[in-house]
């Protein structure tokens, strides 16, 4: 705050809110366009849609934290102690979406196993332990 005069900071706030509004509109239009609502026959690959919208959201998050919350003007140590721990979340997102896809792949296996009549289950048999291991 101390680095800007009152007039400058007023102007900068208006500028940032307009950028945030534009990004939000772009996100919504991109989502609708990519799913074929705006123009027939156009459909983007889900990975492309996801990637572009995640990047736009991160830009929005950056603007809110650094401009609106004035992280830009805080001591570097404060910024690091707040922002670096959130890097753990990158691991969290990757690990758990990975895990989720794995549950998806194993649903059929679990279903088959659950529907197997009890008399067919030989406790301790090679087949049974192999299946158990697969399900984890």
């Amino acid at each position: 705050m101390a680095h800007l005069t009152y007039e400058e900071s007023k102007k900068s706030a208006s500028k940032i809110i307009i950028i945030l509004a534009i990004i939000t509109i772009a996100e919504v239009l991109f989502a609708l366009l990519g799913k074929g609502y705006l123009k027939e026959g156009i459909e983007f690959h889900p990975a492309l849609m996801g990637g572009v919208m995640i990047i736009m959201s991160i830009v929005k998050a950056y603007l809110i934290i650094f401009e609106f919350m004035h992280m830009k003007y805080e001591a570097p140590g404060l910024a690091k102690s707040v922002l670096l721990p959130t890097l753990l979340l990158v691991w969290g997102v990757i690990a758990f979406t990975w895990e989720g896809s794995d549950w998806f792949k194993r649903r059929d296996l679990i279903k088959t196993k659950n529907e197997r009549p009890m008399k067919d289950v030989k406790v301790g048999s090679v087949y049974d332990s192999a299946v158990t291991r697969n399900i984890g």
Binding site: M1, Y6, S9, K10, A13, S14, I17, L20, A21, T24, I25, E27, V28, A31, L32, K35, Y37, M49, G50, M53, I54, S57, K60, A61, I64, I65, F68, M69, E74, A75, G77, L78, S81, V82, P85, T86, L89, G92, V93, F96, T97, E99, G100, S101, D102, W103, F104, R107
Partner: protein, 285 residues
Amino acid sequence: MATVETAAHNDTHKDNDGSWEGGSQPFKASYGKLMMWYFLVSDAFTFAGFLIAYGALRFSMPTWPVPDFVFSTTPFNGHGLPLVFVTVMTFILLASSFTMVRAVQEGHEENKRGVVKWMILTIVGGFMFLGCQAWEWNKLIGEEHMSITQNPFGTHTEDGVYLAGDGHYVNEGDTFVAGESYLVHKHDGEWAPLDFKVTSGPDAGMIKSQTLGPKAFGALFFFITGFHGFHVFSGIVIMLIVTINAATGLYIKRKNGYEMIEKVGLYWHFVDLVWVFVFLLFYLL
């Protein structure tokens, strides 16, 4: 001797003057502001836990309700306007973030009238957002019968043709393709799924009935947007308190550029920040 005494006296004076007990402020921030930042870090992890659970469960399901179908109603135009209402909600929250920035700026200028004016606008924005959310929840719970254990929004996994209509949006003979969403209606308190004939895949020719969608959707939606809404509500309460304090002149005496407004502002921007990601995961993707 005299110089040492003066220095000691100055140090004591400095301690009472806002720096922490150690004599100088860590990170050049006041205790309250730094702790607000660390509270927000912990809160970010709580929200991230919820959102990551959403991601993991969504990835584990064969189908997931399409948000453009689930959230396509507005209070004014009825059905068929995907994402319009939630975009309005997003804009309300963004606008209230902007008015909060302005309140903080007026605080730095020690302008009481400006602070109170912009704080009131921010509170109005918060109430408007909560009102929109209440409308959305009411619609989902009251009219569409979504709950934390039941989710009437399903997705077709095969092409087909309906053998019956629901009297609203689906008529007998309507066709659909795999990936299209539907809403199972309730009649007299009972689910009334429609029958359809499959026209694609190995089951072509079979007659099937609509099934309810993944129930995790309802639970995740209500818990995550509810937790966010609860943050908005607490934010409004805290803002009301500091606005009254500011209006009665309490912060003028502190002569610290209305720092309390700045701390509440950090919290309010954080609520906006979380909404960016709730909006992304629930509505856009």
